[in-house]
Amino acid sequence: MRKVILSFFIGLAVLACIPEETNSPQNPVVNNPLEISAPMGFTWTTTKSISVTLNKIFLPSSLVRTLVLKDGDGTQLFRGSHDLTQDFSLTVTVPNHVDKIVIEIGEVLLEKSISGSSVAFSFPVIEPSND
């Protein structure tokens, strides 16, 4: 008898530990519960890929500096070293609503609006004072 009672409580405990399956596939669902008709090819991504390029500058030898890429919200997208005598290119992922990309190298601050899926920067002409 004691074994029967013990088995009953063990059975109860096991049942209690089984998670509730509130969303079981057997539940009836409508075919389009959100009443959405997304166009073909739409992948629901809240981000987009942007190709960022920066032209090289001409120097007698390589010059490595820290390059920081940010979006218009100030969110950092890349931080790494870059040889200014080489072209820079990188594909970054930004939220869909971002419309601006910023590059910082030392005191150089470049900012451009995103047009399509790419942003092309040129290193600014810096003519130091001649006085």
Binding site: P19, E20, E21, T22, N23, S24, N27, V29, V30, N31, N32, P33, L34, E35, I36, S37, A38, P39, M40, G41, F42, T43, W44, T45, T46, T47, S49, I57, F58, L59, P60, S61, L63, V64, R65, T66, T75, Q76, L77, F78, R79, G80, S81, L84, L90, T91, T93, P95, N96, H97, I105, G106, E107, V108, V125, I126, E127, P128, S129, N130
Partner: protein
Amino acid sequence: MKNLFILACLLIGGGLQAQNFTISTSNLKNQHLAIGLPTVEADAELGDRAFYTCWVFQGFSTTSGTQPVISGNVSFRSSSLSNNVSPNSAAITTPWIQPVNGKISFKMRFDVNGAQTRFMRLFYIPIDESVSNLQGEAVLMETVDLPTNTTAFSTYEFDIPEELFNQTVRFRISFNGNGGNNRAIVDDIVIPGIFAADPTFGCLPALNRSDRDGDGIPDEEDDFPDDPTRAYRSFITNAEYSTLKFEDLWPALGDYDFNDLVNDLRITKITNANNELVEMIIESRTRAIGAGFRNALGIELTGIQPNQVASVTGTILDGDLIRVNPNGLESNQTHATVILYDDAFKVLPRVGGGTGINVEPDRPMSEIKTQTITITFVPNAVSSRLLTMDMLNPFLIVNQDRGREVHLPGKQPTSLANPALFRTGADNSALGTSNTYMSKEGGLPWAIWVNESVPYMIERERVTDGFLKLREWANSGGSNAREWYTDKPGNRNDVKIMRGIK
């Protein structure tokens, strides 16, 4: 008198060896320079003076069309030399340079004959730390009267004074004159020395910046200034977390409250001075489980090979679901794949009753903890370019069924997914294309990833009833309401949304 002397030398076609400068009509270039000696040069062949970084060309541009040149296709060309005084009216000033033993040389001619007087001056400019641009008073090195009755070019050479060796200076070549309107043509400027300007700091003299670990990244830019194997820390996702939401009934449709698993992720990468991956750190905060299934969460690093990973720490895998390699990655995967936990209830335990966890506002809330997973890469094996948010392929494993994976729409299943499940139920996937994990009707997803930490729905509330512009965004193919997930006015219905669960 010097003028006459030079002119005489030019007329006999030979060279002149003055005290510390030389003029010759030879077209041989830089013979005096020892092989391997560093030089700073400007030969105009780049076609635009703007390409000569940190040089200043005042009253000078580059030649074009049929304008006379000295060598190659392009030379520097001054404006008319009508100013008899100013050293800046027609002048070429070099970047900051650390000169070495040798001769400054360049070629020069006039475009036409007929001027009255013309002269050229060479200056050096020392550093003066009392002024903001660090540019001291120009010191005259040489004045040379120029012949005005010829358009032949001459090569001018000037010894660099010994006292300038290894100093940091600029040089300026200026041209002046009276009468006539001819212009100076200059080419093949060569300065023996090391380029010492910093184009990223206004072309000021480059500073010797401290670099304690010797990795080439100055301490103030190095996130790990005492560790030569690490240089930069940057975020792959938003620095303030991103939110991943799942429906877990795939390939069947669910209730679309998108809270069966709500998991915030902040993913950081650590790179070395060469932009190679050292570590990837995943901070995972499981915020809600609106389901009864014992789901697991994994991330495939698409494009990264399993043998490029040295180790993985911080995963919670103590069941039978996941088999791992010695390096901590899941076994038998084509791409490096990390399973963060094999059962969401282990990272967000149930407190009290209710349908799920943290999905009903009137129920006790389970404390959200941060799980930190560190992936260490084989040294110098993976470029940081390969690890962007696009390359991450997070997925849910449904209720301990290893083959039943739920991915973001457009992503591919991993090697261990069960291919027999695709195109069953409501799924309309065409594997190998971007049309994956979308429903047959409406093209609905089973997962969504927002690169911000966003709130989620109360149990059984449709996501479109909480995020009021989601439908407009989806129906427009992403063109309209692109900020549907933000807290801007009109975007959310707070009554349907769980608040304050971070």
